[in-house]
């Protein structure tokens, strides 16, 4: 006779349900990305997902764990999609392969698999690629429009498999610095924010051509996740608030040296980071107050890295740094238990 513990009923929720909602919420951002940068993302995503699932299966086999529950929970799928979204569209196949495999093996399963990893696997994968292959990781193609595409799906596929550009093209013609990179370098060369932003072909209306739309689409997906109660508002709002606060103060003090708030909020990986990366439940803080602190600090760190650090964008490193602080944050931000005094 087994002793079965209450409760005896359960709503139809599951981890895979959570993950599928996340995948669904990524679609507008992915669509915008493909619209402006072409189909390279699709190829990278395919390679990253396949690698993630195969690597996970292999590690599960080594660990003598059942394959089905882990492969079907959708977490590897989400990690792989996020890695692909951080990559430039024009990269050889082994870039998504290495990023995805490293994330699965080192960032996830060496710590014990789903739920056990202290660091966001997708961001670990990205950070490794950025540090190990800086050249491949910083060649972003120009944002394009469908009627003026330089690169077709076949071109992307050929490049992925063979690293060969289409005949008659070189990297200089195809790629450019991202708006964040451009802003950083040119400011250090004595340009003004106003002067840089007047070049709308690169800088778009507020935060870089294409990028501002991609960010808006991720914001849309993020709002969907909050409405579906998949994530709470705490981390995204606190992160955006932290970023906006420090960007606002800087811009107010020296408008020509520091980009305006919207440039930071809608530039780079801000919205992807706020709603899809910083909110990864496994590696984020879990208490309401802790989430606010965690998100806020990520926002501050993103700005610090973007403006004073060595990289044009700082989402990945900001998230990884705050991942380290999570146990401490959680410990000191425990909510007041019912019937206990306010001061613990």
């Amino acid at each position: 006779m087994s002793i079965i513990s209450s409760p005896h009923i359960h709503p139809h929720n599951s981890i895979s349900g959570v993950m599928l909602n996340v995948c669904f919420a990524l679609i507008p951002g992915i669509a915008a990305h493909v619209y402006f940068f072409g189909t390279g993302l699709i190829i990278n995503m395919f390679i990253a997902i396949t690698t993630a699932l195969l690597t996970e299966a292999w590690v599960l086999k080594l660990r003598k764990r059942p394959l089905r529950p882990s492969l079907m929970d959708g977490s590897a799928l989400v990690t792989a999609m996020l890695i692909a979204l951080t990559l430039p569209p024009l990269v050889p196949w082994w870039i998504p392969f290495i990023g995805s495999a490293f994330a699965m093996i080192f960032a996830k399963h060496l710590y014990g698999g789903l739920g056990q990893n202290p660091f966001n696997p997708a961001m670990v994968g990205f950070a490794v690629l950025l540090i190990a292959f800086p050249l491949e990781m910083t060649r972003w193609v120009h944002p394009q429009l469908p009627d003026t595409y330089h690169l077709s799906f076949i071109d992307y596929l050929r490049y992925s498999l063979t690293s060969l550009l289409p005949a008659g093209y070189n990297y200089d013609a195809l790629t450019m610095a991202t708006p964040l990179d451009n802003m950083k370098i040119q400011l250090s060369l004595g340009q003004t924010v106003e002067g840089l932003q007047s070049n709308q072909a690169i800088m778009g209306k507020v935060a870089g051509k294409g990028w501002e739309w991609i960010n808006l689409m991720f914001l849309l997906g993020g709002v969907f996740l909050i409405l579906r109660r998949i994530i709470t508002w705490h981390i995204p709002l606190a992160m955006l608030a932290g970023l906006a606060l420090i960007a606002g103060i800087s811009h107010l003090l020296a408008p020509n040296h520091y980009a305006p708030i919207l440039f930071h909020l809608l530039g780079g990986a801000t919205m992807l980071g706020a709603f899809f990366i910083a909110t990864d439940p496994v590696t984020a803080s879990t208490t309401p107050k802790g989430r606010l602190l965690y998100g806020f600090c990520i926002g501050l760190l993103i700005y610090i890295i973007r403006v004073w650090g060595g990289y044009p964008d700082g989402v990945a490193f900001a998230v990884l740094l705050m991942n380290m602080a999570v146990p401490t944050i959680d410990y000191y931000t425990q909510p007041r238990v019912f019937g206990h005094d306010r001061k613990q």
């Binding site: 002793i3 789903l114 019912f338």
Partner: protein, 548 residues
């Protein structure tokens, strides 16, 4: 009075009520089954002690088991009949272990005990007298926990009761017995409330009912007299599980929190279930002890779900048959609601004082067909926890068996409502982990007390030995001194005589040891005879032997 400002507790769940399923039609009175199986423990505390023996004829309302401890409750015969056995039987308990039951073969006469004491003028009685009546009627909390009611009507020295609360929230899905009780016996509930109010001299009375039971709220409001309206307020509270939890209901009604590890009385509140109030009215005004109750029989595996008025000891199957249980479809039988109910394995298990509901679920309604996946720290559990705990931290430390940490995260503030496990997307049976941790901690506490006692005993023994050693030494030293003094007076002679005396003592002792028989205290006659024969032989030998 209706514009009361309500409090709010963290978390909780909006659950589908399913209450209408069992609220169609009247409450039917279940016939008397051929046999009643009455557990001697239907409450929290010490089991009652049977005062009848097999073969005795008992009448309805007769005491059949008396209480032997303060935290206990007596048990009465629910109908007339003959005691046919007092034996172990399956009882509704989370452990699934059987317990002693008094089995009565009913005679169908339903013959009442004569001379029942009735007190319609209860307000003339002393509160102590009322508590005694309630205690002797075997009344326990009918909401589910089964704590002896008279103890909760005993505020204790220097404690004043400001608010007396009746809990009619009935927040668990499917259950409707309290709702129907409030509709059909509203006046009895108010009478019981008045008796309780008199017993504890409470100032104000509140009846908290979830707003998904408008008929019950109306019925109670309608039954109040103008005078009663001055001090009784029937309050509709938002429907949210677990509002029926004592701490949660008090928070909602009074906006006061019971401090951790304290009782409601510590903040001047006493809380009883509406069913308990009706039972109190029966006991005091009509002299009817607690022998029956309303039971909801409902769920997806009965064709005619409804409420029944059933005698304690009625086998559950007897009620299920009346509600036309679908034999093939019954996947799980629960006593209580789906959130906190316990599983019943044996359908012959009897109805007891705390049986508010029999819930039948089909296999597809049941939660545990999912394999638990790892915790992804989503925090849904913390969002749902009405005690505002961090369930995933508790889970983590319970799993690691780090019970100090579990206590640091306040596992004993957990009310086991099941909200966390309900919302968990990984389907982890969280409550089971907390029950495990609590049980382990209690066990460790007991072991510690035991070892503490053993250590104390050991230390005291060491202390005694040490003391004895010192005393002995002291005595020896004194003796030596005395001897030295004596030697100083007459050295050789004293020594000599002391030695001689000692020698004589040794000789005498040897003699005694030689002749005295040993081990002859507890001998059988046959052995004694053998010994005597052996002695006689030895005697003969000694006589014959010339060397001695």
């Amino acid at each position: 009075m209706s514009a009361r400002k309500l409090g709010h507790f963290h978390g909780g769940l909006k659950l589908s009520g399913h209450k209408q399923v069992s609220m169609t039609g009247e409450v039917t009175t279940s016939p008397i089954p051929p046999q009643l199986i009455i557990p001697i423990q239907q409450h929290i505390g010490a089991p009652a002690e049977p005062v009848v023996s097999v073969g005795d004829r008992v009448k309805k309302g007769q005491l059949i088991a008396k209480m032997e401890a303060t935290v206990s409750a007596p048990v009465h015969a629910p109908t007339s009949g003959t005691v046919s056995a007092i034996e172990e039987w399956a009882v509704p308990h989370p452990s699934g272990l059987p317990n002693t039951c008094i089995v009565i073969d009913t005679d169908g006469q339903d013959e009442w005990l004569e001379d029942r004491a009735t007190h319609s003028q209860f307000h003339l009685l002393d509160p102590e007298e009322l508590r005694k009546l309630i205690r002797n009627a075997g009344i326990v909390g009918l909401g589910g926990a089964g704590f002896p009611a008279y103890l909760k009507l005993q505020p204790g020295q220097g404690k004043l009761v400001d608010t007396l609360i009746l809990n009619g929230a009935e927040c668990e899905p499917w259950i409707s017995c309290d709702a129907l009780l409030m509709q059909q016996r509203a006046r009895d509930i108010i009478d019981g409330l008045n008796i309780m109010r008199h017993a504890v001299q409470a100032n104000e009375c509140l009846i908290g009912i979830e707003d998904n039971k408008p008929e019950a709220i109306q019925a109670l409001r309608n039954s109040l007299t103008d005078d009663e309206k001055r001090y009784i307020d029937v309050v509709a509270v938002p429907t949210r599980y677990p509002t029926g939890g004592e701490k949660q209901l008090i928070k909602v009604l009074t906006d006061m929190e019971i401090p951790s590890h304290k009782l409601p009385i510590d903040i001047g509140v006493i809380c009883h279930n509406v069913g308990t109030a009706a039972a109190v009215a029966d006991a005091v005004i009509r002299g009817i002890p607690l022998i029956s109750r309303y039971v909801t029989v409902t769920g997806t595996a009965v064709a005619k779900p409804h409420n029944l008025h059933a005698l304690f000891g009625t086998p559950m199957n007897f009620l299920l048959q009346q509600c036309e249980v679908h034999e093939g479809k019954l996947g799980r039988l629960l006593m209580g609601g789906p959130m906190m109910g316990i599983e019943i394995h044996d359908r012959q298990t009897p109805i007891i004082k705390t049986t508010n509901c029999l819930l039948t679920l089909q296999p597809q309604d049941i939660a545990d067909d999912h394999i638990p996946l790892p915790c992804i720290r989503c925090g849904e559990c913390a969002r749902a926890c009405p005690a505002q705990l961090l369930p995933q931290q508790l889970y983590w430390w319970s799993k690691a068996e780090d019970f100090d940490k579990v206590q640091d995260y306040n596992v004993f503030d957990c009310i086991e409502c099941g909200c966390c496990a309900y919302v968990c997307p990984s389907h982890i049976p969280l409550v089971q982990y907390y029950r495990f941790a609590k049980t382990e901690i209690w066990q460790q506490e007991r072991d510690k007390q035991k070892s503490d006692r053993a250590r104390q005993r050991h230390e005291f023994r060491q202390f005694r030995m040490e003391q004895k050693k010192q005393e002995d030494e002291e005595r020896r030293r004194k003796k030596k001194e005395l001897l030295k003094k004596a030697q100083g007076d007459k050295p050789d002679e004293a020594k000599k005589s002391a030695i001689e005396e000692a020698m004589a003592r040794v000789q005498a002792k040897k003699q005694q040891q030689h002749t005295a028989t040993k081990n002859v205290d507890d001998l059988t006659d046959a052995q004694r005879k053998q010994v005597e024969e052996a002695d006689a032989r030895r005697e003969r030998l000694n006589k014959d032997d010339p060397t001695t």
